[in-house]
């Protein structure tokens, strides 16, 4: 009976009961759970948190741990038909930290551990890809040197494995991790687990590949699996952006059995977890392996559609559905956009990369001081610069939108515009500043600057089929009454718009103290609604109402 380690399933057969999450950490637990559901995951074993605590207490591995690691490796070898540090089919490993509670400062993943000079040659022969084998060897050494600075970069792979495990244990006590635990009241003796998993190869042959699958479309919420597949590639190739991934159709034609297994797994994981899943997978010689499954990130339109659909399908209740839609997502859906056909025939003044979505019109001004002055006088201005620097921030705050001639989506202008929520187009090329003085409309999503003030359309929450459903549920569950402006008697309580107009949001909390009712369009802004909610306001009058309702439902 192993004292320090737990084997985590393997080829679809659970080798043990679901382990205690506190002892093996979140990552190992989710691997074990997928295995317990009968899904194929690359075999893995985990060194539990007890071994970490014993190591940190004594300064060396506890008795018996090395032998158990050797046993774990032998078990991985048996399950994969590969050998660690020898032979012509090499076993390569990923090493990951895994505390029960995620925290900053813990060690990153080490990939491809087990490759050495002989391993590179073996991998080159097996895949027929000598460049890939050399790359794998190089990437391993870079990562290993960065994460295990005192580790044996050359030498036995077993020694490297032990050094990587020690590095994970030691990362429990990095300055950042300790400070985080102190601040959040997390005990210092919980320790971290170490998950050691066999790596699978998506580039082994013509029936191998790698990809990502969403159990529903994460952009628009369509209840249809949506994914990308890259034949004959490793996960790093997808991230690198060097290759253009193909759709799921390509997977169906390349590896039909793995495709069918993937769709089955997707439906199963979504049902079991009660939420849309984002699944990373690799196909090795026609066989599907699931690497990770978690709740998917989703665009606002997808968030509302999925929430409503899942209630209709009987998968979640209304309260859960509402908890998966944020007030900010609803606000985004209700932002003004160019009216249909508005840009047809409009003169395109400049075009670049859209860095922050939204539409705004104003006079193009190329000087930040002038922008601030004219905005203070009530004029709508759009700031245009070659690039921006901290010198320009006051002008960006004053402007309705920002345009730059140079720079990309990570430039200062892009970062600051997103922080301010200003529609922004970057990298239009020279000439935009020369149009200063013109009245323009900026389409931040499309990356376009048009001449003139184009008509915009502001969607209404009642006209939106999914938002209307969410409003009905939220009204029933909300502890705060939210009434739409302009309906019934004149609104009660304090005028939020007046308070914000005179003293900014800083003045709000004070003005709201002791008030139970408030009204004004400002309450449709989630941040302002949160301040009102914290101040104890229980009746709000505003338009639109759904953002405020969702704020009222936040725990």
């Amino acid at each position: 009976m192993a004292q320090w380690t737990v084997l985590l399933g393997g080829s679809g057969l659970p080798d043990c009961a679901l382990p205690d999450r506190a002892l093996v950490g979140g990552k190992a637990w989710s691997i074990a759970r997928m295995a317990a559901l009968g899904l194929d995951v690359p075999p893995a074993f985990v060194i539990g948190t007890a071994a970490c605590n014993a190591y940190l207490g004594a300064g060396h591995f506890p008795d018996g741990l090395e032998a158990e690691i050797d046993d774990g490796i032998a078990w991985l070898e048996a399950h994969t038909g590969r050998t660690f540090g020898r032979g012509d089919k090499r076993l390569l490993l990923s090493i990951r930290s895994g505390a029960a509670i995620s925290m900053p400062g813990m060690m990153d993943t080490v990939l491809n551990l087990g490759i050495d000079e002989g391993g590179e040659a073996a991998l080159a022969a097996e895949t027929g890809l000598p460049v890939f084998a050399a790359d794998t060897q190089r990437r391993f050494h870079e990562l290993f040197a960065a994460i295990v600075p005192d580790g044996p970069a050359t030498g036995s792979v077993r020694g490297q494995l032990h050094a990587a495990v020690r590095a994970v244990f030691d990362s429990w006590n990095t300055r950042r991790a300790r400070r985080y635990r102190d601040h959040n009241g997390i005990a210092h003796d919980l320790g971290t687990a170490v998950t050691i998993q066999a790596m699978v190869f998506g580039n082994l042959d013509e029936t191998s590949g790698t990809g990502v699958l969403f159990s529903r479309n994460p952009l628009n919420g369509d209840p249809v699996p949506y994914g990308e597949y890259l034949p004959r590639a490793q996960g790093e190739d997808v991230v690198s952006g060097k290759f253009t991934p193909l759709g799921l159709d390509a997977m169906l034609s390349h590896v039909p059995q793995a495709h069918a297994a993937l769709l089955e797994a997707s439906a199963l994981l979504e049902r079991e977890n009660g939420d849309v899943q984002d699944i990373e997978f690799t196909v090795q010689s026609g066989r599907l392996y699931l690497l990770q499954s978690r709740s998917a990130k989703r665009a606002p339109a997808a968030a509302v559609r999925i929430a409503v659909d899942m209630v209709d399908e009987g998968r979640v209740d209304a309260a859960t559905a509402l908890s998966r839609v944020s007030a900010e997502q609803v606000s985004t859906l209700l932002l003004p956009h160019l009216a249909p056909g508005a840009s047809e025939g409009a003169e395109l003044l400049a075009s670049g990369e859209g860095a922050c979505p939204g539409v705004a019109s104003g006079i193009l001004v190329s000087d930040p001081d002038e922008a601030e002055r004219r905005a203070a006088a009530g004029e709508a201005v759009v700031l245009v610069r070659a690039t921006t620097s901290p010198d320009d921030v006051h002008g960006m705050i004053a402007a309705r939108a920002v345009v730059t001639e140079q720079g990309g989506s990570t430039s200062h202008a892009a970062v600051v515009s997103r922080a301010l929520g200003r529609p922004c187009v970057v990298g239009t090329g020279a000439g935009a500043q020369a149009r200063a003085g013109a009245l323009v409309t900026v389409d931040g999503a499309g990356g376009k600057v048009y001449a003139g003030a184009l008509p915009t359309k502001t969607p209404h929450e009642d006209d939106h089929p999914y938002l209307a459903r969410l409003i009905a549920w939220a009204r029933e569950l909300s502890p705060v009454t939210v009434v739409r402006s302009g309906i019934g008697a004149s609104p009660a309580g304090i005028d939020i718009d007046r308070v914000v107009g005179e003293g900014g949001t800083e003045a709000l909390a004070e003005a709201l103290a002791g008030q139970s009712a408030a009204y004004g369009s400002g309450l449709s802004n989630p941040e302002i609604a949160r301040i009102a909610r914290r101040s104890g306001v229980t009746a709000m009058t505003t338009d639109p109402i759904l953002p405020a309702l969702l704020v009222a439902l936040e725990s």
Binding site: S102, D108, Y180, Q329, P390
Partner: protein, 200 residues
């Protein structure tokens, strides 16, 4: 730099800031910085509005012209220049990290991050912490050559720790000394010291 140029320099970097913030960046006592600022306003080199200060355009140009004199030694200091170049390399990662904080990759499309996905936010803040650890030796080398620059390392660490503790505005809010605000002020400081132009 003398106290007057230090205050001009700090006001140029921390534009439209109140006197205490300018004093902190200049590394001068608050009262001395306030006196210098008042003198600059009186002589037409700065303007003040609502308690915040900004240089007049001519004073800004004149200050730029004196940088070559003030920073001649630093520009020739191999250790300082190497640290500056290290900063520029990390700057590329910083910009990507802040962009990943503000946006989400959803099925291959970049959308605004509404911070409803806690795991994403925690992962980005963890990366920011890792980046800060890589930056620390560089910040140390910069401050070793010019002690006043330790201001930035202290402010960056304070912003990082506030973000790690769950106050997420400290990552990139432009209206406070967030990690991004201080990082860009340091970038601006270094560009002025080195006499270089910002690329984007």
């Amino acid at each position: 730099m003398n106290a007057r140029d230090l205050v001009l320099h700090a006001a140029a970097i921390k534009r439209h800031a109140p006197a205490p913030a300018i004093a902190a960046l200049a590394g001068l006592p608050a009262s001395q910085a306030k006196d210098e600022l008042d003198a600059l306003v009186a002589s037409g080199r700065a303007i003040s509005a609502n308690g915040a200060y900004a240089l007049t355009p001519l004073a800004g140009v004149a200050l730029q012209a004196r940088y070559g004199f003030h920073f001649a030694e630093l520009r020739e200091d191999a250790k300082f220049v190497a640290a500056y170049e290290g900063f520029e390399r990390i700057n590329v990662t910083l910009k990507q990290t802040i962009t990943d904080w503000q946006t989400l990759d959803v099925g291959g499309m970049r959308i605004a991050n509404d911070h409803s996905n806690k795991a994403h936010d925690e992962a980005v803040i963890d990366r920011l912490g890792g980046l800060h650890e890589k930056a620390e030796p560089i910040l140390g080398a910069l401050a070793a050559a010019l002690p006043r620059l330790s201001y930035y390392g202290d402010k960056l660490l304070a912003a990082l720790e506030a973000a790690e503790d769950g106050e997420h505005e400290w990552v990139s809010d432009v209206r406070r000394d967030s990690y991004h605000t201080v990082w860009f002020e340091l970038h601006e400081e270094l560009l002025r010291i080195m006499g270089r132009e910002r690329e984007e």
